[in-house]
C-alpha cells in the first residue's frame, strides 16, 4: 500500500478544507494581526518609506501612543463607545417586541398568512433604503413624523439634528428590520412549543402572562438565544444606517466605533489610529463571542 492509500481517509478532509483555510488565513486571520500591528504605528496610508509634508516619515512606530490618545485625549472616542453601549442595550428591545408580534400573528385567523408576510417585509429591504426612508420620515420640515405631530398640535422633533436624540432615531430605524427578524425566529420557535405542556399548564390554572412566562418562554429559549446574539452582533456592527442617516452627525454625536474607524482611516488619513479603534472594537467583540461560545458549549453539554 502506498502512503496515500494508507492515509487517504485521514488526509482527505484536510485536503478538502485546505482551500477554505487558506483563504480564511489570508483574508481574515492575517488582516487581524496586520491591523493590530498597524495600530502601534502612525501611518497616513501612503508609501511606508516616504515622508510627509512636514518632514515626518509616513510610517513611524509610536508604541501604545494611539491607544493612549484614544483613552485620554479623544472625547469623540468616548462618545462613540457610549453610543455603542446605547446600541447594545436599546436594540435588545427589538426582541420582546418581536415576541409580541409573533404571538399576535401566530393565531388561526383568515388572511393571517398575508399579514405575517407584511410584517416580514422590512427584513427584505436593504439597510440603505431603510435609512433613506427613515431620514425622510424624520425630516422636520416635510416628513411624515412632523405631520403626525402637527396633527396633535405638537412641534416637529428634529430627531437626526439633535445631539441627544440622533442615536435613538437611528436605533428606532434599526428596529424596523430587527423586529421582523426576531419575529420570524419566534414564529418558528412557536411551532415547536408542545401542545401537551400548554394543556397541562391550563389544567394547573395558568393563563395569560403566567402561561407565557412559565410555560411558553422556557421552550423558546433557543430562539431567544439566537435573537440576542444576532441583535447584539447587529448592534456592534451598526454602520450603514449611521452613514446614510446622519453621517455620524450632528458634530459626531451619533458616531459609533465602526464609523469612527472608517472616518479616521479613510478620510483623515490616520490608518494607525483607525487600526487602534478597530482593535478595541475587536476586543469588545471577543469578550462577547467568548461569553457566547461558553454559553453554547454549556447548553450542548447539558443537553447530552
Amino acid at each position: 500500500m502506498t502512503f496515500w492509500e494508507r492515509n487517504q481517509l485521514k488526509l482527505a478532509p484536510f485536503l478538502f478544507l485546505a482551500p477554505a483555510i487558506l483563504i480564511f488565513l489570508i483574508y481574515v486571520i492575517y488582516p487581524i494581526f496586520d491591523s493590530i500591528w498597524v495600530s502601534f504605528h502612525e501611518w497616513n496610508g501612503m508609501d511606508k518609506e516616504g515622508t510627509r509634508g512636514n518632514g515626518n516619515p509616513n510610517w513611524r512606530w509610536v508604541g501604545l501612543n494611539n491607544y493612549i490618545t484614544l483613552f485620554t485625549d479623544d472625547e469623540e472616542f468616548y462618545v462613540s463607545l457610549f453610543n455603542n453601549v446605547r446600541w447594545l442595550i436599546f436594540s435588545l428591545l427589538a426582541i420582546p417586541i418581536g415576541l409580541m408580534l409573533a404571538l399576535f400573528v401566530n393565531q388561526k385567523i383568515l388572511g393571517m398568512r398575508y399579514i405575517k408576510s407584511l410584517f416580514y417585509f422590512p427584513f427584505v429591504i436593504n439597510a440603505v433604503v431603510i435609512g433613506v426612508i427613515f431620514t425622510w420620515f424624520y425630516n422636520p420640515k416635510y416628513g411624515a413624523l412632523a405631520y403626525v405631530l402637527g396633527f396633535f398640535g405638537l412641534d416637529p422633533v428634529p430627531f437626526l439634528a439633535d445631539e441627544n436624540l440622533a442615536t435613538y432615531g437611528i436605533i428606532i430605524a434599526s428596529f424596523f428590520p430587527g423586529i421582523a427578524y426576531t419575529m420570524i425566529l419566534y414564529i418558528t420557535g412557536l411551532t415547536g412549543v408542545s401542545r401537551e405542556m400548554i394543556e397541562a399548564g391550563r389544567i394547573d390554572g395558568a393563563s395569560g402572562f403566567t402561561m407565557l412566562w412559565n410555560v411558553v418562554l422556557p421552550q423558546l429559549k433557543p430562539a431567544t438565544l439566537i435573537a440576542i446574539v444576532v441583535t447584539i452582533v447587529g448592534a456592534l456592527r451598526s454602520f450603514d444606517l449611521i452613514a446614510v442617516m446622519t453621517a455620524g452627525g450632528p458634530w459626531g454625536s451619533s458616531e459609533v466605533l465602526a464609523y469612527k474607524m472608517y472616518q479616521e482611516s479613510l478620510f483623515n488619513y490616520r490608518m494607525g489610529y483607525g487600526a487602534a479603534i478597530a482593535t478595541i472594537l475587536f476586543l469588545i467583540m471577543d469578550i462577547y463571542i467568548a461569553w457566547f461560545l461558553y454559553r453554547l458549549f454549556k447548553n450542548e453539554r447539558s443537553e447530552k
Binding site: 510627509r52 422636520p140 428634529p158 450632528p250 478620510f267
Partner: protein, 406 residues
C-alpha cells in the same frame, strides 16, 4: 475594490506600448463624462500618434483609489483638485513638476489667475481644466415683493435677513448634514473680515483657532445665528434637501457653488433666481472668492511623460479648453477661452476676474483631518453658538496635533 483596481491598472499597463497614454479620470457624471470625452477626442485628432486609454472611476470612489494607484501602478495623467489636496501628493513626491508645460504652452499667461493654486515652492505641479464660483443664489421674486435690494455690505445684508424673517420667509437656507456647506460660510465670513492671507495661514495651520482675530468672524456669524436667520434644523438636511425650501419659495438665499444651477433649471424656478456676490464686511479688505479648481496631474510613476505633457499642454488649445469646462457646467481657467453664455456663469466669470484672490474652499485648502474636525465644529457652532470657546479650544488642540505648536 483595491485589488480590482490594481488588477485593472496592471492589465492596462501590460498592453501599454510606446505612444500609449493612460489617463485616470473621475469624470463619471453624465455631463462631465461627455465633456471629458470631447477633450480626449479633440486631443486624439490633434495628436494621432498617441493612443489614449481612459480608465474611468466613480467620482467618490476615485478619492480613495487615487492613493493606491499613484503608489502601485501610476497612470500617465490623473485628474485631481488644486490646493491642499494636490499639495498632499506633491509632498509625497507622487506628482511631477510640470513648470515646463506652463512655460512652453504659454499657460503662465493664459492661466495666470489659477496659477497660485497649482504652485508649491515656486513650481507648478498640475494644469487646471475648470473651476466655478461660489456666492449667494437668491429668490429675486421674494426680494422684489418686499422691495429689497441686493445687499452690498454687512449692515444691508443683516437688514435684508431681518426683513425676510419678519415676513415669514427663512432668510438663508442651508443643509449642514455633510458639513461642507458650513465650511463655505466660515470661508466667506473669514475672508471678508480677516482677508485672504490670514485665511490661508489658518488653513495651513499657522494660526491658532483661539487667535483673537477670529473672534470677529465668529461674532459676525452669531449675528445671523442668534436671530434665527438660518434654516431651522439644518443639521438634518443635506445640501440637496436644503434646496427644497428655496425652490418652494419658503427661503430666500443660499450660499452655494454654481453646480446648483442645473437643479434650479430642472425645478423650473431658474427664472425667479438671481445671484449676488457675498457682501463686504470690513472695508478695505481685498476681495477674495471661493472658486474650487479641478485639475490634471502627471504622477511621478508615469511611464509616458512625454505624451502626458502634450495632454496637459493641450489645455492651451482654447476651443478644447472651453468645451471641457462649459460642457461640464464650469468656467474655463484659460482666459482666452470663449466667454460663457449661461447668465450665472457670466456673473461668476466677471466676479472672479475682478477678485483680488481666489481660495479653493475650506476642505480643499485645509489638511483633510483638520478640515473635517473644523467643519464639525462649525456645524456645532451654528446650532449651539454658546459653545464657541469650547469648540475653538478643541479645534486648536486638533490643529496642534496635526501641524505642531506655532
Amino acid at each position: 475594490m483595491k485589488k480590482l483596481i490594481t488588477l485593472i491598472v496592471l492589465f492596462t499597463s501590460t498592453v501599454v506600448s510606446a505612444g500609449t497614454l493612460v489617463v485616470n479620470s473621475n469624470q463619471s457624471g453624465e455631463s462631465s463624462k461627455a465633456a471629458f470625452d470631447a477633450y480626449v477626442d479633440a486631443f486624439r485628432a490633434a495628436h494621432p500618434e498617441v493612443t489614449v486609454v481612459v480608465n474611468e472611476f466613480e467620482h467618490e470612489a476615485y478619492k480613495t483609489a487615487i492613493r493606491n494607484f499613484l503608489t502601485a501602478e501610476a497612470p500617465d495623467v490623473a485628474i485631481w483638485f488644486a490646493g491642499n489636496r494636490m499639495k498632499f501628493f506633491v509632498d509625497q513626491n507622487l506628482f511631477q513638476d510640470v513648470s515646463d508645460v506652463w512655460a512652453d504652452a504659454g499657460l503662465n499667461d493664459s492661466m495666470a489667475s489659477t496659477k497660485g493654486s497649482l504652485t508649491v515652492d515656486g513650481k507648478q505641479y498640475g494644469v487646471p481644466w475648470g473651476y466655478y464660483q461660489w456666492g449667494v443664489y437668491y429668490r429675486k421674486d421674494l426680494f422684489d415683493n418686499l422691495g429689497l435690494n441686493v445687499p452690498k455690505d454687512w449692515e444691508e445684508f443683516k437688514w435684508v435677513c431681518a426683513m425676510l424673517k419678519k415676513n415669514g420667509i427663512t432668510p438663508i437656507t442651508i443643509g449642514t448634514k455633510f458639513l461642507w456647506t458650513a465650511g463655505g460660510w466660515f470661508d466667506y465670513l473669514n475672508l471678508r473680515i480677516n482677508g485672504y492671507q490670514f485665511h490661508m495661514d489658518l488653513t495651513a495651520g499657522k494660526v491658532s483657532y483661539e487667535d483673537p482675530r477670529l473672534d470677529a468672524t465668529f461674532a459676525a456669524w452669531r449675528e445671523l445665528i442668534d436671530p434665527g436667520y438660518f434654516l431651522e434644523d439644518h443639521a438634518s438636511f443635506s445640501w440637496q434637501d436644503a434646496q427644497a425650501p428655496q425652490i418652494n419659495g419658503e427661503a430666500a438665499m443660499y450660499l452655494i457653488g454654481n453646480f446648483y444651477v442645473p437643479t434650479l433649471e430642472s425645478a423650473g424656478v431658474v427664472d425667479k433666481m438671481d445671484f449676488f456676490q457675498f457682501p463686504t464686511i470690513v472695508e478695505g479688505i481685498g476681495v477674495a472668492e471661493d472658486a474650487p479648481t479641478d485639475t490634471m496631474h502627471i504622477p511621478s510613476g508615469a511611464k509616458n511623460v512625454e505624451d502626458a505633457k502634450k495632454f496637459l499642454a493641450f489645455m492651451s488649445n482654447k476651443e478644447a479648453a472651453t468645451n471641457w469646462a462649459t460642457m461640464g457646467g464650469m468656467l474655463s481657467p484659460n482666459k482666452y477661452a470663449d466667454k460663457p453664455t449661461n447668465r450665472f456663469s457670466v456673473m461668476g466669470a466677471e466676479m472672479l476676474a475682478a477678485a483680488d484672490d481666489i481660495a479653493q474652499f475650506w476642505d480643499r485648502d485645509a489638511n483633510p483631518d483638520m478640515a473635517g474636525a473644523a467643519m464639525e465644529g462649525f456645524q456645532e457652532f451654528m446650532v449651539k453658538p454658546d459653545r464657541e470657546a469650547k469648540i475653538r479650544a478643541r479645534l486648536e488642540k486638533e490643529r496642534e496635533r496635526i501641524h505642531g505648536p506655532i
